[in-house]
Symmetry: C2
Subunit: 491 residues, 2 copies
């Protein structure tokens, strides 16, 4: 991986002086073309060994182009304060919007490599983290991002010479930290692991580029040209093709599915309801105040056809909780900041820390429900969403979150009854719009989407519960009791 980057690449200063202004101008033009185009972000990862010119390259990019449209973020070891959110959380927060360049100094590669070098994580964990990175980058690519991964390399000898030189000059000695020296001593362990990480994550969607870092002129022009070529190719070419995702399962031949085989006839009397609900709420309240809850977050998803009772069920749930414990996030149209980011970004920003709950009234499942049925997104996009969603929820669970998802199922006849009731009750009229009637016409398509969704995204770490909700009382108690069981199992 690094052989070609140890042969002592060098450029004459004259050649640099000739070419640098042209490169700079071309990069600037490309940056403004990207801004005008506005349909994709550029994500530049800057990684490599110490002293190979990473920081210098970040500075150069900011000097060559208009820094007001470059989002530069540097990452160290994950800070403790963020430890209660998934490790990728801070990178999601740093993604550049469409039309902009994001420079990620450090990036999602640093921590897996360092933890493995130090022996803090086993090989299996290391490999799993690399796999997740591959999937994450594939998602970014599919969402339109141009990803440029630059690795700056120095031979062991070149690194030693550089550290010596810096230390010798009192004006630069401060640049050599204890960590730099410690890393250098680990060189023989560090570099082979880096080579493996690069090999395993150099994909068609996001290939690695290794740059020898010892000669500043060679390094600068090489990095600049790689960026320019990638940008120009993307701006003048067409969007690259995506690898196809697995199609959803075929509809079954007998027409029976998860929803139409549910028992919708059971009911709960008002008296039994009131005592069961009160008991379930008390149980939930105690659980949310349990001291072990401080090491967990709670992520609840409510989905269902229009008028299935999502809002009223959520209110029964939240009445059992301290108001400081939970937040309800109703999902409606995205804002422009959200539209300029990958699909899941708007959900990542609301994730709870430990000891807190976030309740989503509709959620990321819109991608495989309304967006699929209404054609708001292309077929490959919703097809890949199942897998992306599973990985998203797995990351939540790994970070300690208890993830529970409810589908409130009603029959078409019951929906009609509720729509009519809403039209008759003045203060419920806002709940019923022309769109609801239009959606109702597409009932079979929605039903198919729901069944596919449950089939493909009900996992051990984030299970779906399909709740027959024709009887509101039964549905509400059922939801709270199910939730209590889940929390008890995890605590």
């Amino acid at each position: 991986m690094f052989e070609a980057a140890e042969i002592g690449h060098k450029l004459g200063k004259n050649q640099y002086r000739r070419e640098e202004p042209k490169l700079r101008q071309a990069l600037l033009d490309a940056q403004y073309a990207l801004l005008d185009n506005g349909t994709f972000p550029v994500i530049i990862l800057i990684n490599g060994v110490d002293g190979a010119g990473k920081g210098e390259t970040v500075n150069l990019f900011n000097e060559w182009m208009d820094p007001r449209h470059i989002h530069t973020r540097a990452f160290g070891a994950p800070p403790d304060a963020e430890a209660d959110r998934p490790e990728m959380w801070r990178f999601w927060q740093a993604l550049p919007p469409k039309g902009r360049i994001g420079i990620l100094f450090g990036s999602w590669y640093s921590d897996p490599i360092l933890k493995r070098v130090m022996g803090h994580e086993k090989r299996a964990v290391f490999e799993r983290r690399l796999e997740r990175i591959r999937h994450f980058e594939r998602m970014l690519f599919a969402e339109g991002a141009l990803i440029l991964k630059l690795w700056f390399h120095l031979s062991k000898d070149a690194q030693r010479r550089r550290l010596k030189k810096l230390q010798a000059d009192p004006d630069t000695a401060w640049r050599v930290t204890k960590e730099d020296l410690a890393h250098w001593r680990q060189y023989d362990k560090f570099v082979p692991l880096c080579a493996e990480a690069l090999r395993e994550t150099s994909t068609g969607e996001a290939p690695w580029h290794v740059i020898e870092g010892s000669d500043p002129e060679y390094r600068a022009l090489t990095a600049g040209r790689l960026l320019l070529e990638a940008l120009t190719a993307r701006l003048t070419g067409t969007a690259p093709p995506q690898s196809p995702a697995a199609p959803p399962p075929e509809a079954s031949l007998d027409g029976r599915n998860l929803l139409n085989t549910l028992d919708y006839r059971r009911t709960l009397s008002r008296t039994r309801y009131e005592s069961r609900l009160a008991r379930a709420q008390a149980r939930l309240n105690l659980l949310t105040r349990h001291k072990r809850m401080r090491r967990h977050g709670l992520v609840l998803v409510f989905e269902g056809m229009d008028a299935a009772g999502k809002g009223s069920t959520i209110r029964r749930l939240t009445r059992a909780m301290d108001a400081r414990f939970y937040r309800v996030i109703p999902i409606a149209a995205p804002t422009d900041e959200e539209r300029a980011q990958p699909y899941l970004w708007r959900f990542w920003r609301h994730l709870p820390g430990h000891g807190a709950a976030v309740i989503f009234d509709r959620s990321w499942y819109g991608r495989v429900l309304v967006e699929r049925v209404e054609g708001y997104c292309a077929e490959p996009d919703w097809m890949r969403a199942y897998h992306e969603i599973n990985e998203f929820e797995e990351q939540l669970a790994d970070a300690g979150a208890i993830v529970v998802k409810f589908w409130l199922a009603i029959t078409q006849a019951e929906q009609l009854r509720r729509f009519r009731e809403r039209e008759l009750t003045t203060y419920k009229r806002f709940k019923i719009t022309d769109e609801d009637w239009r959606n109702r016409d597409k009932w079979p398509a929605y039903e198919q989407s729901v069944c596919d969704m449950i089939e493909r995204t009900s996992t051990t770490f984030a299970p779906w519960h399909v709740i027959a909700a024709n009887d509101k009382r039964l549905a509400r108690t059922h939801v709270i009791e199910t939730l209590c069981e889940h929390i008890e199992a995890r605590l």
Copy 2:
């Protein structure tokens, strides 16, 4: 303050059943009118004694209206993780955008009152916090917000009866926490202090409404009507008048000002520059890695006429810092999420925690510079901004931030020279636009604004440094050295 709320207000159930549907419908209509109108947010503060129906009212509002357009947030004691940002930070993050209703359960009143009751804070601190709250609410009001402050009250006896009743029923006993009992025992200390807080913060812009909480029907209809009346009055009336702000000082008679009396002739030779810069950078690097820095944040503001050298100075500064330590925030046009919030919101969201730096390339001072000169905001808005900005920066300083602001001053002749140079150098051409030439024509108006700004916002906790920047080398070293002095003084 609470006398009228202890007389046992009560409503018959029949009256409630008659009036509730009408009220509910009217509130819903008003909520949708607010959404259509979209020019102001509604901020509802829910405070009061335990058991007086605060949580129930929050639930009712969410049931009566469309909860998808209500942002409900509850606040407990400030969590440790946020302690390194100003206390108001979490409230800024919770403000509803224009057109929406935000319900703040707890709000900025809880902590000052509790800290004082417990004796954790002195009377002078308590009074100062109330004063800040008044100013904060006045700013919200001036930014267009409709503020409804509801206080739910119970007499000591009524509170005792309620706790007893809850404890007696096994289904509701969990609702009575140890804190509730502790608070009840403090009643005689707590309530007079609340009365004082309410008196001191009941202003024309944001008056308090006290509601007796013992009868659920009375409480519900009263709270609902207050909200309805406030909403209707605002939606059908005109925006309320603001209290006038102090005008900026008059221009001096002799035409001499802070900028035109500066010495722009001093220069620094390249050799002296290089050694002074390297020394200053080394000094700055050590300071940013100082262990006491972990208890401070660093907020730097760079302002200056076009072509004053803000960007290049910032790059010299950041080269001396670990990339993980700082973030540069260039301020351009606000996003739609930012436009739907009070002016300072977009800066609050970027504030650094302890041990981190945020460098603003242009800043909140745009309000009193470009927005004033170009007429992007009304005169009363920029006039009140001086005071708002001072309070904002004082909060930063109180939370441990080191706030330093630089005005890079160049002469009109030097600006012209740089504009021409930019037009001649291809890769600098992006830095010069028609707008820059237009701004240049307004030089005297900008100069006046700058002088007023420095006069009114240079404080001990956030001083301005006017740096003569005709000589770039001198300006860069001067900035870094000045910054080092400030940090040293604080550490």
